[in-house]
């Protein structure tokens, strides 16, 4: 199962490189998996905010997923 998924990933990656974005993607009615709550970017905004705050105050990096900066005097 695992190796099947991996080769599948590899196939899709090559497809992406070969033909660019427009051939990727799904039809609107194929969004059943993508519609799941856990498949949303930023699915857990509160968890992410708490983690980001912790890392912002303890590390030299911030941002990436969204803007850097923290609006916090802690760093």
């Amino acid at each position: 199962m695992k190796s099947k998924h991996l080769s599948f990933l590899f196939l899709v990656c090559s497809a992406a490189i070969a033909s660019g974005c427009t051939s990727l993607g799904v039809k609107p009615w194929q969004r059943d998996v993508l519609a799941r709550e856990e498949m949303q970017l930023g699915a857990d905004p509160v968890d992410a905010a708490i983690d980001d705050h912790m890392y912002f105050s303890k590390e030299a990096s911030s941002g990436g997923r969204s803007f850097a900066g923290g609006g916090c005097g802690c760093n």
């Binding site: 974005c21 990727l24 705050h53 990436g64 997923r65 850097a68």
Partner: protein, 437 residues
């Protein structure tokens, strides 16, 4: 940028595969709403605010203890506009490292407040920490998203954060465009942050002698940031996002409470000076996130980040969330693993040798600018419960994380300091309960 592609109307052709997909989508949706209610939905449902709240408890071993309640309110309007408000209250207490080096002798420090009763002494062999550290922070923010065509949306937001010695206002705006049947989203955003610092006892002159206590009144810093992102639906169960961003901060970028020990060649602390960081910093980062739904039960979110700045810090971050949905879809567990590594800023130094003059003119002993790697292990358990009133469901969750920093780059130290733990690292736990309804 977090944008959810939506479904436009399809065009007809090659029906077979589409029929299979449509049937699967229908039955998949049916499986999700296992016990779908017979009663027609309350038409006011969408008009309600959804609430995501949490209470976090953060504890750093022997140091800081923080309690942080967070609430996030979101509302989607019928025309597609959405509003989002969030509020955070932070209460910190405990002790915070002041940047001075562990020493074989006791060290006495004046409090930043200048009050004699707040002066503190650190025992030999102990990391100097200010035991009177206490802070509360209130932050509120809002975000408004407005779709202005079927495929374009504008989002504006603002955030205000207030502490007794720090005040910050951030505004941001972004625009997103969908194409390729909403499988691709391009977005561009800018952000602007204005901070004003009013440290207790004043803002020290960077690099000045601690004993002289040369301080100015409040200082400011501000930052601008820009971010370009692409979100792409790769396959039916794979979504990817790639962002690049740059931000530039200017102004008083020092931590006003951090000092650096000056030691002689014998390893004796002869004095301290306030840290001195450059007055501007430019950071660039690349971020790549992949969400894959492997099957009905298992999905993963893997994110990779590379960041570099002109202070000499480079960092790599990899984070994996694994969500395992348990049999009847009303519970899930989510193990998390995060690995982080950063190089030290060029001017990072745990101490200054009195014989040498820092070549850059900048120095900081702030461990957050040192070279270290960090690991986070986390586990979350969530349980879906019946909703309140007209709501379909609510979710209760508990989450715990263990965070550990290990310093990996060591600077040659005078023999006299051997045997002292100059890089104590950091261990922290986070426990959080969440309630979403």
């Amino acid at each position: 940028m977090q944008l959810k592609p939506k479904a436009p109307r399809p065009t007809p052709a090659n029906a077979r595969r589409r029929l299979i997909a449509a049937s699967c989508a229908l039955l998949g949706a049916a499986a999700r709403s296992q016990q779908a209610n017979v009663a027609p939905a309350d038409s006011g449902l969408l008009e309600d605010w959804s609430v995501d709240s949490a209470l976090a408890y953060y504890h750093e071993d022997g140091r800081i203890l923080a309690i942080e309640p967070v609430v996030n309110l979101a509302k989607v309007f019928a025309d597609g506009q959405s509003l989002n408000f969030n509020g955070t209250f932070d209460s910190l207490s405990g002790s915070s490292p002041n940047g001075a080096l562990t020493s074989h002798t006791a060290q006495t420090f004046a409090s930043p407040s200048g009050k004699a009763k707040h002066a503190y002494t650190t025992a030999p062999g102990q990391l100097p920490v200010d035991p009177n550290y206490q802070d509360t922070r209130i932050a509120v923010g809002g975000n408004w998203t407005l779709p202005f065509t079927r495929v374009d949306q504008l989002s504006v937001g603002a955030k205000v954060s207030d502490e007794h010695d720090f005040f910050s206002v951030t505004v941001n705006a972004s625009i997103a465009h969908d194409f390729n049947e909403k499988n691709t989203t391009l977005s561009f955003g800018i952000s602007n942050e204005f901070d004003s610092l009013s440290p207790i006892g004043g803002a020290p002159v960077p690099g000045s002698d601690y004993a002289l206590s040369q301080k100015n009144a409040g200082k400011t810093k501000d930052g601008v940031g820009a971010l370009i992102g692409v979100t792409q639906v790769m396959t039916r169960n794979w979504l990817t996002e790639f962002n690049v961003s740059v931000d530039r901060f200017k102004g008083y970028l020092n931590d006003p409470y951090k000092i650096t020990s000056i030691i002689d060649s014998a390893g004796n602390t002869t004095g301290y000076e306030f840290e001195s960081r450059p007055d501007q910093r430019t950071r660039k980062s690349a971020y790549w996130e992949n969400r894959v739904g492997w099957n009905q039960q298992l999905s993963t979110a893997l994110s990779l980040r590379y960041m570099t700045d002109d202070w000499g810090v480079r960092s790599d971050t990899a984070q994996l969330h694994l969500r395992w949905t348990l049999s009847n879809r009303d519970r899930y567990i989510e193990p998390t693993l995060r690995w982080y590594r950063q190089t030290a800023a060029d001017f990072y130094t745990p101490f200054i040798l009195s014989a040498t003059v820092p070549t850059t003119g900048f120095e900081s002993s702030d461990s957050r600018l040192g070279a270290f790697h960090a690991l986070t292990y986390g586990l979350k358990y969530a349980q879906k419960l019946p909703g309140l009133g007209s709501r379909a469901e609510s979710e209760f969750s508990v989450r715990a994380e263990y965070y550990q920093q290990t310093f990996n780059e060591r600077i040659a130290t005078p023999a006299a300091l051997q045997g002292l733990d100059l890089y104590p690292g950091l261990k922290a736990i986070l426990v959080q309960v969440g309630w979403r309804f």
